[in-house]
Subunit: 287 residues, 4 copies
């Protein structure tokens, strides 16, 4: 779908006059053709954010030197935090599931239809129930049951698998198991979860039960990066659906499924496109 | 807009076979023409809810005896909680405001346009800032400033005014003052508030600041009946608007205004139409 | 998911006092327990519509006599058009596809997860591209290519297959081929299509191109029953997504996919639940 | 609300490498501090669009020379179409109404609350019905009835008033009268209309009647710049509301009011903020 010769710079630094001119000048003068540019200034905190994507075809700086040059010429001077990625590197995504299939089917259907520039070489589950999906889509499906007692050793197995398959990021597709802090810290801003409420409402277990009890007129879903604190990581995407007094907990659960899969897939798409930047527990989601 | 000779029954009782037949039979057999009927069975808790509106023109039971007959014939037998209202009684609504005008203008514009079958004979404010609105719409505007020290006596003045003007229900149109429990208990399910968050997220003060801090991608507004516990009463209506990392607190406040006024007005409209029933801190909002 | 001993009555007739009493009385008096009831009076045209679902467990009229009794006792007297269905009859649905997989994957994922009380024994396509999906989900996938010249004979093959598999209704999951009037008339209100615009805007071919040309700020999707006139049948469900000047036709197509699959699946669900009634090219969609 | 010393450049030109660098460089090098920048490349048609807003406080080029310098230095070279505005010029807006008050009240309530940096010195109506609103808000309200026979001379009176009051742009707040082509051509992209359908569906008269006839499940509203062809000008903003088979034409009209006023006000706000650029019958609406 995408040609594989683009560079993507995501950066932030203390705001200062002229940064756009400097960065776009650097790209243009060295033969890069800017394809997309999105920038934003947080005036409250005085921070400048930018994402630029440019074609490398006639860019004179060798790919493996770009980061180095950029750091030397501008990174240090402007006190930037930045990351340069290349679209030719197709990211590898692992899916974690438990017993519910709606999110994983949505992810795999998009992948199969060629919607996303990503590879999905591994599925991990703490239950064997969805093993058939691995077979249907011809993806290794590893069952790693987790109990209170074996958590550390089972997570070690998971990490070994993630490394074996060179996984770049992890999608928790209704994976009903809390990851240890150790595990999470290995993948900062690289584990995407879907929580079935409009966070920060209804943190933790059984949000549809909580929503039913409170008598809300909207239910929601929230995709976010996983951090050590439960359901408190940077929010990537949220959406809601209208409900009424007629809806039982089963109805909320049923209506919520469409929300969950769409909200999760939107977040995964933005991540694949390298359009997300995190800063102080918030996301900047570029266009 | 509406003819003033309809009866409206709102009721709930333990669910039991045949209740619809019995009630619709009672109305039909006595010459009432059913105009709207909406019912719903809460199977989880075994409760039957219904709202029926019928034309009284050829109804043989005198208006002032209907409740009595209904209680004797069916109310006791089915253990019903019910209320019968008459559309010829045009309800009288008081508006409480502070310094922000968007909600009160929306309410008054609808009233002026004849959208609602209601009277608005009184505005109460704890600040003089919006006095001009009383003049524009020719409605008494009473300024009753409230401090920690004078709350009890000032609320007494408010209650005296509400009684003087025969107020049926109160709309808090961004009234930035917490009512005392004593005051609230005088008007059960008759005080409608707008809170500028999707409750139960961001209870209490400064919800837009809280939303900004958490980095949500949606902001919300919630209209609810006021109960003694802050922002915890039965929810009538909620809606949301999409925001992004670009939105400052001022932007959230600005975007939230449209939400607040629409969500409040939808709740007020349902209340005026006598389409709301409350049960165990939830609302049933009939069609 | 559902027990298979419910009767569902969908009816309409000229509005008249007392019909609810009569019908609910008929069910109650004969031992039926009403589970859901939704009714509505079209006052403009004077038509009464109702859907009632009741438990047959203790119903004294034998299942195969209910329609007959009902017609004799009430149907003729009230000039009703009605249909009584039984949930123990699990409907059989055929899916027609072409080359795009997002809608069919969404349908099959729901079926696989047990969300719907339906059987899917047949997929028909005019292209071989999605044959793999038949294998993944173990459903016969028949390729019947259609050209201008062979349309009649190929549709005859399709009809033979539909009959062989006892198909109750057909879902066109982005099937890019117009059905003949003869074909359509065999399945009145039993062919559900998804059109990728908010009808009646952008009828016919390439609606996303039309939307792009017009510069709309919303794109839509519409599910409807297929009638002889293209994209003009009774609308079941619609929804929209926000777009901007930045979106190319490819972007609209991409954003539209989620809409299409969700809007189609909502319509299919309502059809499976027998909650739709059509009247003069409109649908009544019961709760 | 806004300080009055900003310049706003809106431009488009054939896309070409380096334009952002050149323009941002021009601003920075001459002492301008860029406050907002939004740009976008239409790759299909090869057009570059940009809006930049910068602080003039330390800008060395005198305000009345900026356009001239910019044209000489870059405008001609890059074949730009551009316009430079200054926030110190507060625009003057006229409102045209007929008999319905919901849109004009919404506009005036926002103005009164200080939400918008605009002046509203004139209301024109073809009916006297809403004269009271002019009095309430202390704005001249000119009644200019229009018939087939007097259209030319009455429009001449309107134009004289618009000139007398130095009106920059006109808002048709449910003004039920088609303007002549002559009139429209005097105010290109400066007349904003609200049409009560999701255009291009239901062009022309009585869109809610058309929507009812078609049995849609969504109604919409569209704000657009007025051009000679009816309801065919560049779309600025659209939104929808969900309806059902239960909604009569009166219900659609009632539900549509909230849509109309919000969609119109959003468009007016973007126009006031000088965030809209039109190109070939489409709008680019900057952030």
């Amino acid at each position: 779908m995408e040609q594989h010769n683009h560079a993507i710079l995501r950066m932030h630094c203390p705001d200062q006059s002229g940064i756009i001119t400097v960065i776009t000048g650097f790209i243009n003068e060295n033969g890069g053709n800017i394809l997309y540019l999105d920038q934003y200034v947080d005036r409250v905190n005085g921070v400048f954010y930018m994402r630029v994507e440019w074609d490398l075809e006639k860019f004179v700086i060798p790919k493996d030197k770009i980061s180095d040059y950029f750091r030397t010429l501008y990174g240090k001077r402007y006190n930037m935090t930045f990351r340069i990625s290349f679209t030719e590197h197709v990211q590898r995504m692992a899916i974690f599931v438990s017993k519910m299939s709606h999110c994983i089917y949505d992810l795999l259907a998009r992948h199969t239809a060629g919607e996303w520039d990503v590879e999905i070489p591994l599925i991990i589950s703490n239950h064997p129930d969805l093993k058939i999906i691995g077979e249907q889509f011809n993806i290794p499906f590893e069952v790693i049951p987790i109990t209170k007692d074996n958590k550390a050793e089972q997570e070690a197995k998971e990490i070994a698998l993630l490394e074996k398959y060179n996984i770049d990021f992890i999608v928790l597709a209704r994976y009903m198991q809390v990851l240890s802090t150790d595990f999470i810290e290995r993948y900062p801003n690289r584990i995407i979860n879907i929580h079935h409420s409009f966070l920060p409402a209804f943190v933790g277990a059984k949000p549809y039960h909580q929503a039913y009890e409170r008598g809300v007129k909207l239910i929601g879903a929230t995709s976010h990066y996983v951090t050590a604190e439960l359901d408190a990581g940077p929010i990537i995407e949220q959406d809601i659906a209208r409900v009424s007094h007629k809806d039982t907990i089963a109805d909320l659960t049923h209506k919520g499924r469409d929300l969950e899969k769409i909200v999760l897939s939107r977040a995964v798409e933005k991540h694949i496109q390298r359009k997300i930047l995190t800063f102080e527990n918030k996301t900047i989601v570029f266009n």
